[in-house]
Symmetry: C2
Subunit: 422 residues, 2 copies
């Protein structure tokens, strides 16, 4: 479990796009940094991150649908309203969610003011995010005493320290970035995310920050974000618990100097694909580093009457605790897959269903027309011994597809969440 290299996720190839280093600093004109300000008693662990765009950026956001909303969300909504969806900076802390506290909004506003003073910008140009324990008062002093050093240390290579600062029970930092050409200019989209429990995003996800240097209107920025969230983060579940602090923030500063994207068309499609690749990769990283997880579990549904049905079925499979345990135990208990397909809340026929289980070690067909077929247990065990498992489902009643991402359920999930107020 502490062999972090096992958490690496394979990149999906797409023509015309190249994965690059740099996370939230990959795109032009962004600086970031992170440090330990003392919220986390372990001095080696960062707990405070700062991200700035050198020039004003358009901003889009999606938030948790949980009725309990963290104070930072309320402050972000207010600030974006005031600025007409513009932002310069994001401040984020881990170890404390600043949620369900009577002074939550006051403290979140204070964080914005502290960052604004240090960066010499307006407080409403700062967005704020927190993650950690719910319902404990956020101590502001550690942030106040370290914001100066954090602002001073910002750099175009500070993405890694920032990505570390938003980690909670994550075992690896999560970054992704891609590069492509737009109007003859090099354009980039990059991001960072944190997991790794209380993950079942719904219209949003846990903390995710994405930056791009593309020039794009605020409306198109929001449209793309909402669309891509639906097929990436919203198709992810670690444990079915939708967090109170879920948030995706997307900044676009226009520094790539492409012609402004103002409507759907080739440029929008091209840029949106880059956003998809980054968010898809972060989604898979989140899934693979789910609390206690040893395996990335993906379900790909084909032959569905519509894409929404495909995603609902896929999410039902990767959410089943019983199947998640079977994957951990490397047991090809496909009856649990079919059971989870059967209780998916969507309208379709079950008796045309085809199921196979695949990994880099091979593919084994286990169910045809909704009934079991003989298969080699030995072969299945080999397939399931890999660290990325894909369940292929063909519903046999349409042309639409969907994917969902999760992980196995292990002793360590119970240990992490039983032992520690995370």
């Amino acid at each position: 479990m502490d062999n972090t290299s096992s958490k690496d996720v394979s990149f999906e190839q797409a023509e015309g796009y190249r994965y690059v280093e740099g996370g939230v600093c990959a795109a032009k004109g962004y600086q970031a940094g992170g440090l330990n300000c003392g919220l986390n008693p372990v001095k080696e662990k960062n707990d405070l991150a700062l991200l700035i765009s050198d020039t004003p950026a358009r901003a889009a956001a999606v938030y948790t649908t949980n009725k309990v909303k963290g104070a930072p969300i309320l402050v972000c909504q207010e600030h974006l309203k005031k600025t007409g969806n513009m932002a310069r900076a994001v401040i984020a802390n881990s170890k404390n969610a600043n949620t369900c506290n009577a002074d939550g909004v006051e403290k979140a506003e204070k964080m914005c003011h502290l960052a604004a003073d240090a960066l010499q910008i307006a407080p409403e140009e700062v967005l704020v995010a927190s993650t950690g324990v719910i319902g404990e008062i956020l101590p502001i002093e550690p942030i106040e005493s370290h914001i100066g050093a954090l602002a001073k240390g910002l750099s175009a290579s500070g993405n890694l320290e920032a990505a570390k600062a938003i980690m909670t029970t994550d075992t690896v930092k999560k970054e992704a970035a891609v590069e492509f050409e737009l109007d003859g200019k090099i354009c980039r989209v990059g991001g960072m995310a944190k997991g790794s429990g209380m993950i079942c995003p719904n219209m949003a996800t846990t903390l995710n920050f994405i930056t791009t240097d593309a020039c794009i209107s605020a409306d198109m920025l929001q449209q793309a974000l909402s669309e891509i969230v639906r097929v990436t983060y919203n198709c992810l579940s670690i444990d079915g618990d939708t967090s109170t602090n879920d948030m995706v923030l997307l900044l676009a500063n226009g520094r790539a100097e492409n012609a402004e994207i103002r409507k759907e068309g080739e440029a929008y499609r091209k840029w949106k694909e880059a956003l998809y690749l980054v968010m898809l990769h972060l989604t898979k990283m989140l899934a693979k580093d789910g609390e206690g997880a040893t395996k990335l579990l993906e379900c790909r549904v084909e032959g569905a009457p519509d894409s929404e049905t495909a995603r609902i079925v896929a999410k039902s499979v990767i959410s089943s605790p019983l199947f998640k345990c079977a994957v951990f135990g490397e047991d090809a208990n496909w009856g649990r897959v079919l059971c989870a397909i059967g209780y998916a809340k969507a309208d379709f026929e079950i008796d045309k269903t085809y199921v196979s289980i695949a990994s880099k070690n091979g593919k084994v067909e286990v169910c045809r027309d909704g009934a079991g077929i003989p298969f080699s247990e030995q072969e299945a065990k080999k397939v399931l011994s890999a660290d990325e498992i894909t369940v292929w489902v063909d519903l046999g009643q349409g042309e639409e597809k969907g994917r969902a991402f999760g992980c196995d359920l292990t002793y360590d999930y119970v240990k992490i969440n039983g032992d520690y107020r995370s």
Copy 2:
């Protein structure tokens, strides 16, 4: 975990009702039995149960809403249609669900025929149920060769052997029965159930068989069953997985000789309360013996705008994997309770919420008006060290109530479901 006495559930008192022994044989005119026929290789474990009413009984049933339905369900539906909701006997096996098999219906019908021949009744008077692994062909030979001995051994004290025969990963047998007076006659309702994983009933639950000697019309029998299922089994979740073979069968043979209950009124209310007490107790037994569970977890919601909202909120709390782990770890992580209330799919305001955590060891208030309040961690730890924990939630926006039942999430849940194709 093997200390079965820790799985005992405290009885809820209700005036005019007395808990009695006897399970499905508590009511007059029922005989039962169970044995090992060889489906289970462990000879000491029963795997085949038979239940008979000495005289024809009216029957009511509810089944799983999973699109994948076990073959026994299809056969029960067909038989009850043929007989106009009358039945004489039930045959049930464990170790094999007879689900997702091409020959499933044929085998389920064969089970009914074998029982009918042995009991000298018509095959359509027999109902059938199976539980165990999905998608493995059911061997009929062991049943065929043991049905004679099973029928011969039926007795009015055979309830225990029958209850044992339907157990899968259950660690204790589950029976309950109550006695009360109706029209000056002694009347009884009793039942047995099996758990203990793939439990998230929806309009039904895993195998449950209830008998009564009350005289009641088939319509009123079904009405009461559907109504009580909604507030008992449907408010239970071990792991969120709705099984393919869920079924509750209720038989009423009229042997108590009360005046037939044909409409709502005092007699119906009185009998329905007995049914509620039996099903409530079985529900709590199922929850407390959830796979790997060490604690019964109940959530009681008050102050809700309607009872459906109360139940949805209660079920959301007892279903949260994060909170279930915290209960296992005896950590008063109430933020997870509020988070689970917040994502419950119902329409209500969150900021009036009051939460306290209680057990036989005391009660600790942790949240008022949706915000945390100071509490003694030591006191909370003491409360959580009990083996039956109740989370009290007051939504502060109405008069309605609801309850839901679950258990903690432990290493053993993962072990049971990772190691063993159950």
